[in-house]
């Protein structure tokens, strides 16, 4: 009995691809014409990487409702693992791909090992466990040179090949968005959200909540691993500072500002936030950098007071919605 006018329109997936290809060609053209100089190209790449990482955290926190304070540590796992791999195997597109896969897999595995025991318990233990994991990771990375000299310890790891280019970031960013869209608009996605909404009620309707909390956490951390691997080969240098607690808060801020449970929100916020930070870095003196930890909480508080749902408040761009739902919401 449903008269579904939306059925006649092109599939949102098609629109998403058109938007994506168009965006890619436009950005490539801007680079080629020199409008986007190498510095801003680098920022654009960083924005894409931030997007991938933040999508992962949004899956964990925004969709599944599990609060993680150690997202950057999983990002670090992906970064160091992939860097070790490409340095050992020699640079090349193949080894970068392998490095990304390995970085994602290792981050996901570590998440599984941490998540499985912790996520049986109440949600708030995950925040503590991931906070602890972040601190342990920092200590391990600071002293990594004692075991693996190549990792450089607290002075950082250098000699990584610069393999991450804009097409790589774009391809993975696009894949990250589409995979996330297909995941959250599916029965599995609804199971994840039911856990966020009411864990007890989810159990009462047959959802194995421990399993789905772990699933969301593992996939989300896998995203962080991908982002970390791309990051490592963008700057060719890794420092433990880049993966500490403040970095975890960075990503959290992007997710909250964009809107918990909105892919579109994370997309917009990741790009806007990265460019804003870089813009401020260029425009303002270095001492302002020290104020980040004052500015962040303020921004967070302002949003929580005036727009608690973030910019997108659980809505999506049309092309990020599945077909059957369009026109009915």
């Amino acid at each position: 009995m449903r008269t579904d006018g939306a059925r006649r329109r092109p599939e949102p997936g098609t629109i998403a691809v058109i938007v994506a290809v168009g965006g890619f060609v436009l950005l490539q053209a801007l680079m080629w014409l020199g409008v986007l100089n190498p510095y801003w190209q680098q920022v654009l790449n960083l924005a894409g990487i931030t997007l991938i990482s933040a999508l992962g955290l949004n899956l964990i926190y925004g969709y599944t409702g599990q609060f993680s304070l150690g997202h950057a540590a999983f990002y670090g796992v992906g970064a160091y693992a992939s860097a070790l791999l490409t340095r050992s195997l020699g640079p090349g597109a193949g080894t970068l791909l392998l490095g990304i896969v390995a970085g994602a897999a290792l981050a996901a595995l570590v998440a599984f090992l941490i998540g499985l025991p912790i996520l049986r318990l109440r949600s708030d233990y995950l925040a503590i466990a991931t906070l602890g994991f972040g601190i342990i990771m920092k200590v391990l990375l600071d002293n990594s040179d004692a075991v693996i000299p190549m990792m450089g310890g607290s002075s950082g790891m250098s000699g990584i090949a610069r393999l991450t280019t804009f097409p790589w970031v774009f391809a993975f960013g696009l894949a990250a968005v589409l995979v996330m869209r297909n995941l959250v608009f599916s029965s599995v996605g609804r199971a994840l959200v039911s856990v966020r909404e009411d864990e007890l009620a989810a159990e009462a309707v047959g959802i194995d909540t421990t399993r789905y909390k772990t699933l969301g956490f593992v996939i989300g951390c896998g995203y962080a691993g991908v982002a970390g691997a791309l990051y490592a080969h963008l700057y060719a240098y890794l420092n433990p500072f880049s993966f500490d607690f403040l970095k975890s808060i960075d990503v959290l801020l992007v997710v909250v500002l964009g809107g918990l449970g909105s892919i579109s929100g994370t997309l917009v916020a990741a790009i806007a936030w990265t460019f804003l930070l870089e813009g401020l870095r260029v425009a303002l003196p270095a001492s302002v950098q020290d104020w980040r930890m004052v500015i962040y909480p303020l921004v967070m508080i302002v949003f929580m007071l005036f727009r608690p749902g973030g910019i997108f408040a659980r809505t999506e761009f049309g092309f990020l919605k599945p077909r059957a739902r369009r026109g009915k919401e």
Partner: protein
């Protein structure tokens, strides 16, 4: 023939407080049984023990001959025991349709990979889930509401949505915890008819908690009365009405 649900010697202790003691309950297939008693008598605690929300301190709970005491709630549900909550617990930020179809998720087989790749298996399963959920929404008179957020429904519709959600996965046994709470007499009458109807249509066995005695008297074949964690009476409605212990338990509550 053994009972569909067979609870014996149930003891539920919280620290020093004994919420339910020496409780027994047998429900046969297709029966509609009422569980009544004053507030705090231990009715909800019995439901929580049956559905795996609480692990019984002692006692046995058998469903279709199988011991289910101490199983996780999702396992109990998957075996065919569904419930509603005294204080409605919907997924407030999910749509009406999503609330219902997520409760059928466990029967699906398309996991993450099929979802991400949008395979034919995934599409078929999504269609099946949506069709089944819409069928239940139609039964509950909510088919016009499927795209609303659950939190935006009026109270009576939220109650009906919770029942639709509990029915979507073809349970054998339905536990309703004060479904008539907060309704006016007209709505209560309609709800009772609805419960009768779904019981016939889905060949359900129903266990119904109510604290107003009047409500269950009309529909239940058998009524159990609890007070202070113990069963004080059991029988046909007219027997219960005449039982002096029951009258005493309800004295002063003006609900006899």
């Amino acid at each position: 023939m053994s009972a569909l649900l067979d609870v014996t010697g149930l003891l539920m202790r919280f620290g020093g407080l004994v919420a339910v003691r020496d409780f027994a309950l047998q429900v046969d297939e297709h029966e509609l049984v009422g569980l009544i008693g004053p507030n705090g008598a231990g009715k909800t605690t019995v439901f929580n023990a049956i559905t795996g929300m609480y692990r019984p301190t002692a006692g046995s709970i058998r469903f279709r001959g199988r011991e289910i005491a101490g199983l996780k709630p999702h396992r109990v549900y998957q075996l065919g025991v569904a419930r509603t909550f005294q204080n409605i617990r919907l997924f407030r930020e999910l749509t009406v349709l999503d609330n219902v179809r997520v409760a059928d998720h466990h029967r699906g087989e398309a996991g993450v990979l099929h979802s991400v790749l949008r395979t034919p298996k995934f599409r078929n399963e999504e269609r099946r889930l949506a069709d089944r959920a819409r069928e239940l929404l139609a039964v509950m008179g909510l088919e016009q509401r499927e795209s609303e957020y659950a939190r935006n429904l009026p109270y009576g519709e939220q109650r009906r949505l919770e029942i639709a959600r509990a029915l979507v996965s073809d349970p054998k046994l339905l536990l309703l915890d004060e479904p008539a709470a907060g309704m006016n007499p007209y709505e209560v009458g309609q709800l009772m008819e609805l419960i009768q109807f779904v019981r016939e249509r889905f060949r359900l066995t129903v266990l119904l908690i109510e604290h107003q005695m009047r409500v269950v008297m009309g529909v239940c074949q058998r009524v159990l009365v609890m007070e202070f964690g113990e069963k004080i009476a059991e029988g046909r409605p007219e027997e219960i009405r005449a039982n002096p212990k029951v009258i005493e338990a309800y004295l002063g509550t003006s609900e006899g």
